[in-house]
């Protein structure tokens, strides 16, 4: 009986034991799974962000090479349509061979030249659907023609068709053409939105014709005095308003078209030692590259000087070993192709000076596809199409983290300006202003929040009466629950205008309050019958009274300061005397707003850490005759150092990642200026503002992801440092 009872108990206990064991295992397993999936999720985000950003740094490559046809004759110019369905070249007899790369077969479209007339030089202006050609012949004639392509989408396999259109704009000016009796030696042609420009020369005569594109009329402006009429190279700017000439002595002459008239705007050395052989404007018309007979390249950029614009040397481009024979500007960005007599081809990015691709690619003529994703190489014996992967040529470490001379800027600088008004805008992707902005916002936020939060935490945990601590702590915790949109909104729309109006008052209050406290504490202590402590006027009341007095003083002093010292307005005074510009939404506003968001985090964690210091240690110190403050300073703070440090670090991490407040309370101006009175753009806000406008997979899109990655690494690094230092502090002071 007894035995069986025992057995029953045993089995019941056994069942219970098994169930407990099961629950225990299950819980362990679930918790492990949860923790692991958090780590995994973070890792996945990291990998995803990294994968999107990575192509930025993969560089440019020339890919598959496809021989389209064996060329007939000497190719003078070549090209392709935007789908690369058709590849064409024009030979020296004036026949355009259009090869259908999709369906095979070819088509010959002849230019109306005389039977023995030969094409000697061609200028090309590419476009998405139409390539404009200016063809110069050995008889001194210039023919304008366009290769127009269109795509047949209705077919089972879409294909393209091309036609050759002739323009004879110069017919009206026919009489003038006779003045070049020999072959055309050089030719430049460009068509911008409102102006077109055609220049050619031969036998020491330079002829320039300009087109008013709105009226569709060509005219022949008079050449300014002193223009060398036998340049060794010439180029027309893509906007159709500029003509560059290179002379045999290496001089650059820049002619500007304005209202149909030509003026000489610059004459300066190109910076080449040998005779120039090629000249090209890049997209945007503000960069110019010249090549010479020794293979050197000179790059020039138009910058804003004190007396208007001037051209200065831009980043050095890698030189060739053989004479430069051809320079071709990329169709969409500052990519430049240079080819030398030895068959070497380099692709450069003019803004950064980086060499993107270097390859031996013999050919007589090179052209980019309209989308910049392929090259057409026309040689004497073949017409080839070469794939080009050049998605993010503008990115280099220097572009992201260094300073570059950008078009139109007075000096090299680190600039963030991702999009502009026009297609030929030069994107500027320096992350320095964003990193600087993030750090600046964080610094101002911490300057305001750390002292307030830590002193508050010390007061509440060590000095405040219980009822106050019980009220203040939850109140501050509620502060943390305030959505940052609301803080940013209030800061930007309410606080910023108020601060602008009351700047003197606020600044004088900030100065007066600590001074008043420093002054009042000794006075208070010497006053008979009063003492700092619970018996006299309560500390809290003392603080409130002092704050009130400080505010009143500031209120009285501020108008006086404004009137006497600052001539009516501090903001104006700052701008006139100190040259400091005051923006309404500035770093101070952000500091206050972001500080407001960070205070609860730092306060709560620091208060917990300070409150967790064992009472026994405090009592030990007090019993030794240490004052309350000495105890806090020498015992409580060291013991809580790890926690307090962690609190500040978590606050720092929050400030760095905070988006809405910096977005709404700053002007989002990407400046590199430490002044507290102007705004900034933080990395987080920049991502938020620009990601919606960034084309998927584009450079901006990837750069923003890269910024996110940096932000991620920032917070990761901060947390790691915090953990590391916290751990060593804990080792030194902890073990309680």
């Amino acid at each position: 009986m007894r035995h069986s009872a025992n057995q029953a108990l045993g089995t019941r206990a056994g069942g219970l034991h098994r169930r407990r064991l099961l629950a225990d295992r299950l819980a362990t397993w679930l918790i492990g799974l949860g923790g692991l999936s958090v780590v995994l999720a973070i890792l996945l985000i990291f990998v995803f962000v990294g994968r999107v950003a990575l192509p930025l740094f993969q560089g440019s490559q020339l890919g598959r090479e496809q021989s389209v046809s064996a060329a007939s004759g000497t190719p003078m110019v070549s090209g392709t349509d935007s789908y690369q369905d058709l590849v064409w070249s024009l030979d020296s007899t004036g026949v355009l061979h259009v090869v259908d790369a999709v369906r095979g077969g070819s088509q010959d479209l002849p230019l109306p030249l005389d039977s023995l007339e030969r094409v000697v030089c061609v200028a090309q202006e590419g476009g998405l659907r139409t390539d404009h050609l200016a063809v110069g012949t050995d008889r001194g004639r210039v023919v304008l023609a366009s290769v127009r392509t269109w795509r047949i989408l209705e077919a089972a396999t879409p294909f393209s068709q091309a036609e050759l259109e002739l323009e004879d704009p110069l017919a009206a000016l026919d009489s003038l053409l006779e003045e070049i009796p020999g072959p055309v030696e050089g030719l430049a042609f460009a068509r911008g939105e409102s102006a077109g420009l055609l220049a050619w020369h031969g036998k020491g005569r330079l002829q320039v014709a300009v087109e008013d594109r709105e009226m569709g009329q060509w005219s022949l402006p008079v050449l300014p005095e002193g223009v060398d009429e036998s340049p060794v190279a010439l180029a027309a700017a893509p906007n159709g308003e500029r003509l560059a000439l290179a002379t045999g002595s290496g001089q650059l002459l820049l002619l500007q078209v304005e209202d149909g008239a030509l003026s000489l705007v610059a004459r300066q050395p190109l910076g080449l030692s040998a005779s120039p052989t090629a000249l090209a404007f890049l997209v945007g018309s503000k960069r110019l590259v010249a090549g010479d007979a020794t293979g050197h390249l000179a790059s020039l950029v138009e910058v804003q000087g004190e007396a208007g614009s001037r051209w200065i040397a831009a980043p050095l481009l890698a030189a060739h070993a053989a004479p430069v024979t051809r320079l071709v500007a990329g169709p969409r960005d500052r990519t430049l192709l240079s080819a030398d007599a030895g068959g070497g081809v380099k692709l450069h990015y003019a803004t950064t000076g980086r060499t993107l691709v270097e390859k031996s690619l013999p050919g007589r003529h090179f052209a980019f596809s309209p989308r910049g994703d392929a090259l057409v190489v026309a040689g004497r014996d073949s017409l080839r199409r070469v794939e080009l992967r050049n998605a993010h040529p503008e990115i280099s470490w220097r572009a992201l983290f260094g300073s570059l001379q950008y078009e139109g800027y007075a000096a090299p600088g680190a600039v963030w300006q991702s999009t502009g008004g026009s297609d030929d805008f030069e994107p500027k992707f320096s992350l320095l202003p964003l990193i600087f902005g993030t750090l600046k916002g964080t610094l101002f936020a911490l300057l305001i929040s750390v002292p307030l939060a830590l002193l508050g935490a010390i007061y509440i945990s060590q000095f405040a009466p219980t009822w106050l601590a019980r009220t203040v702590k939850p109140a501050i915790e509620i502060m943390a629950a305030l959505p940052s949109v609301i803080i940013g909104f209030l800061a930007g729309l309410v606080f910023a205008p108020w601060l602008e109006e009351k700047l003197t008052l606020v600044l004088s209050f900030v100065v007066i309050l600590p001074l008043l406290i420093l002054f009042m504490v000794p006075v208070w202590q010497r006053m008979p019958g009063h003492k700092l402590g619970p018996k006299g006027l309560p500390q809290l009341a003392q603080g409130l009274v002092l704050t009130l007095i400080a505010f009143l003083l500031a209120w009285l002093v501020a108008p006086l300061l404004d009137a006497r010292l600052f001539g009516g307005s501090l903001i104006q005074w700052l701008q006139e005397r100190a040259g400091v510009v005051y923006d309404q939404r500035n770093s101070l506003v952000v500091g206050f707003a972001l500080g407001f968001a960070v205070i609860p985090i730092i306060f709560t964690m620091a208060e917990d850490a300070l409150g967790n210091v064992p009472e026994a240690l405090v009592n030990a110190s007090l019993a030794l005759g240490a004052s309350r403050w000495t105890t806090v300073y020498r015992v409580v703070l060291p013991a809580a150092a790890a926690g307090v440090f962690a609190a500040v670090m978590i606050g720092l991490g929050r400030a760095i990642g905070e988006t809405m407040i910096v977005l709404m309370a700053t002007g989002n101006t990407p400046l590199l200026d430490p002044s507290p009175f102007n705004g900034f753009r933080a990395m987080s806000a920049c991502i938020a503002v620009e990601i919606s406008e960034a084309p998927l997979g584009g450079t901006l899109y990837r750069v923003l992801f890269f910024t996110a990655l940096l932000l991620f690494l920032f917070t990761f690094a901060i947390n790691s440092v915090a953990a590391f230092i916290g751990e060593s502090l804990r080792k030194r002071h902890g073990r309680l």
Partner: protein, 269 residues
Amino acid sequence: MLEMTKPEVTRRSDADETMETALDVQGVEVWYGPSRAVHGVSMQLPARRVTAFIGPSGCGKSTLLRCFNRMNELIPDCRVTGGIHIHGRDIHAPGTALEELRREVGMVFQKSNPFSKTIYDNVAYGPRVHGNKDRHALDGLVESCLKRVALWDEVKDRLKSSALDLSGGQQQRLCIARALAVDPRVLLMDEPASALDPRSTGRIEDLITELRDQYTIVIVTHNMQQAARVSDFTAFLYEGHLVEFNETQRLFTKPDHEQTNDYITGRFG
């Protein structure tokens, strides 16, 4: 009955030197909010003697002890009335610096509470707080204090290692050394050995015996044997009332009060 292990106690209390009063307690009452923890206690504690407070848990002996260095003021809602004079000075007089009072009246707590600092810094903490920054003087002071608590030989090679590495008994002796470092006249000990093993307890008791020549020691203990072993005088408190204050030998052998007799013979407690 209880055996008197320290014959000196008898000799010293029999000595005819005039006993100086170190602590003069007059009608002290302690209130925690509305409830009274100590009821009108009056007594004169002699200087350079060991006085033990005994009594059952909650009788107010610790509370009374904490009145002497005004540590009770740290407890919210705690109110102390009555007069306490230490060496003739009213500790509640306006203008009394708490720091000065507590320098003069040191305290050792029930649970050892060394700071998470080095052994050296623990002892030097008090002097430093009171403005002694002289490195050389501190070295000497630390050494003499550690010697006085018989800890010097055990720690002299690791003064710069953490005090938390010491054993419980060593930590408590360190806390006593720390209290001695500010050169107090009165040493309050709140059950200093209750958390220690018997061997460590013995060492603490020996220490108290050694220190009695220089300090007025007030020790709270729930251990009657301990009171009998180390103290010259004993006060028996019960439910906040001082029942009997007498020479230790007398209190444990021939108490004046029946209640005392009941307590020391174990009829309640």
